[in-house]
Subunit: 431 residues, 2 copies
């Protein structure tokens, strides 16, 4: 079995780092609390996230929430929140998630200052961030000190197999999910044993709540029965967790706690397929907004390629400087003819079918095969480029990407190119 202690040592923050984080968050919190008090604002600061819970890995950010009383309107809260943020972080910039917040650096540590409403467990939230302080409370109350290293191991494990993080681009396990799992199953190893033996969709929570969801992973939020805390996790990432757990428990993989693993070896052999990379400029919006649109663009292009007979088989999406979509097709020219299946000869519309097709320009037929009519139709003669650029017009590829429809770049990548997207595609392995 793997040596846990070295992994723990490697990724646990040093006592210096802890002290520094503690001192920065105290300083910021004290500043906010006294500022609010002197200005007569009914709000207080609270440290949330992994540092607050003691489950942070080395190099974690600080998340400080500014909790406003519910008497403030949304607009007031946002204005006051940004105001306070800029007071704390002179170098801060504004970002927008569900509502605006200020982010910046203090003594070299990244600090997010997020306004929210103060709610109690069971109270109706106004925005989803209002729930975060409750999550922090729940974990602080229920996670034993001795289990902190189990959460850390689980996070590192999930990270090393590429399933850590609830952002849309990862669709993986959040830190909070890792904490819930350790609280529920007791230890890192028990969590892995649970996944290793799991069949089908993963479910955790009372049946009456679990039954409301259809996601691949359903973990009812301990502070909100109506919420699936694991809604972000994709089927594929559940598969990765199950398989990695099996392999780890059998001692089959060499190192599940190495976050700097290089890309696996891969072949640049001719795949005998048609690989294209479709790209558009990346709009100035966060990944979580762009990524679903990139998937939509991918699906639109694939549906065109499918219809035109190029037989798309596989794909890979990248959202970085540009939105880039790699699609592998079985063929780069559509088939010269398409077999068109007509009705059975004993059906009522068989004569209409013959009448319809008899005088059209078909390659062969109508003819009888077994109990049906068939026609050999001439296939399309478009290239992949012509098909996609010609047919994408009426399709919706996402609110922010639609404007680039007419300028989709299409390249046929050289398999030997040093392109991370292409390399990730070629190197695809288990994790």
């Amino acid at each position: 079995m793997t040596d846990y202690s070295s992994a723990i040592e490697k990724y646990t923050p040093s006592s210096e780092e802890r002290k520094k984080l503690s001192s920065i968050s105290d300083k910021a919190r004290d500043f906010i609390d006294s500022y609010c008090s002197s200005e007569g604002i009914d709000a207080d600061a609270v440290l949330v996230g992994s540092v607050a819970k003691g489950t942070n890995l080395k190099g974690a950010d600080l998340d400080l929430f500014i909790r406003f009383d519910r008497k403030y309107s949304r607009k007031e809260m946002e204005t006051l929140g940004l105001d306070i943020g800029h007071k704390v972080l002179s170098n801060g910039i504004e970002r927008y998630a569900e509502h605006p917040y200020v982010t910046g650096f203090m003594e070299g540590v990244k600090l997010d200052l997020v306004p929210c409403y103060r709610i109690l467990p069971g109270q109706k939230k106004v925005s989803s961030v209002d729930r975060t302080p409750l999550h922090t409370e729940y974990v602080k109350t229920n996670l034993d000190r001795s289990q902190l290293s189990d959460v850390l191991l689980l996070k590192v494990f999930a990270k090393s197999i590429g399933v850590y993080g609830s952002e849309v681009t990862t669709s993986g396990f959040s830190g909070y999910i890792c904490e819930i799992l350790v609280i529920e199953y007791g230890s890192f190893v028990n969590v892995l044993k649970t996944f290793a033996g799991w069949k089908g969709s993963f479910k955790l929570g009372k049946n009456e709540y679990v039954g409301k969801f259809r996601d691949p992973v359903i973990i009812i939020d301990p502070v909100d029965d109506d919420r699936n805390a694991a809604a972000a996790i994709s089927r594929e990432n559940l598969s990765r967790m199950i398989l990695a757990s099996k392999l780890f428990l059998k001692g089959k993989e060499k190192d599940f706690f190495n976050l700097e693993r290089p890309m696996g070896p891969f072949k640049r052999d001719d795949r005998g397929t048609a690989i294209r990379i479709f790209s558009v400029p990346r709009p100035d919006l966060i990944d979580d907004v762009i990524y679903p649109q990139a998937l939509r663009m991918k699906n639109s292009i694939c549906s065109i390629l499918e219809r035109e007979g190029f037989e798309p088989m596989d794909s890979e999406v990248e959202v970085s400087d540009r939105v880039r979509i790699l699609i592998e097709c079985r063929r780069d020219r559509p088939p010269a003819f398409v077999l068109h299946r007509g009705p059975p000869v004993d059906s009522d519309n068989v004569l209409d079918f013959i009448e319809t097709w008899r005088h059209r320009d078909v390659l062969r037929g109508p003819y009888i095969k077994e109990d049906r009519l068939y026609i050999d139709l001439k296939g399309g003669r478009k290239s992949i480029e012509e098909a996609v650029l010609g047919d994408i017009g009426p399709l919706n590829i996402g609110k922010s990407l639609n404007r680039y429809k007419r300028e989709i770049g299409i390249e046929s990548p050289d398999l030997s190119a040093e392109d991370p997207l292409l390399q990730r595609f070629l190197a695809r392995g288990l994790f």
Copy 2:
């Protein structure tokens, strides 16, 4: 509606022809009867087939059966039968169907002299030809004189759409089936109305007998409840009969009584596929023996082509001077890789699968997609010719064709070639 009278006139034998057939068959029968009587052989001659029933088209052959008493052994019957045959036909040659018979010409008319046993309706037959005289009797008794022209029309109709004849190469409607259908439904038009409205498999006869068969067309033999008289008819020929009946009754096709219709127009456009003609010498055996073996050879070759990734789509078989099989494949090179689907990640054998494949020379993987493992395997690099000649060895392509396995000829036909097999393939239409 079509002018029946001209069709009837065109294909009905003249009175001279009738007289001639009658005179020849009388002569042969009298000769056999008196020969048997003088030699003390308990056998008599009986005219069977269409001429005996008055349902013959122009240019029909004569079938004379020599009925032996059942006291003779099979060997005795065969020897005596051939003996008598050669006495009647000095130019006769021996042929072998279920047992040997003599065939030859008398005054320019082809005459088959077939030995059989004399049985009564319901009596157990020894060989299938013993039943033929009973068929003749049944039709003579049950078919009204006024229906003779209906049988003639039905035969010509079936012939013109290519479904007349119960030989294996045709797999169509025999003359006897045409007669049964007219007896059952009353007239040519009623038979067509029946087919035009038929759904699914065709069934005629009492349920208790029909239920024993699984053929596409089931017509219980009126002289033998345990026999499907229509067993030879293929699904495709039933389809042709159904569709032709619909078209005829709607007056949609110009001429269903023209037996000299030229091959329909066809295109020699590039089909973008790989067409090959595989051929072996034709053994000196009748079509009914060779044809099923040709189908077996076709299936063997198709299974190799399928397995090696050439994607066979369609075929055409010809048994003439050689046995020739045209096969159309989607591609003439196998794909460079094959997607190999592994087990679901939550199954018990998933680790074995990884162990098995991890160190093999694969193009990519194992990797996870949705809830399963996949591998991209390198595809074959064989040509169609290499694949078929290399892999046909262990396969059985039929008793008489196996000896030619190593010398299968393979040609890539030029689409503009004047090859009847290729042309039939390209011209494939409704009938």
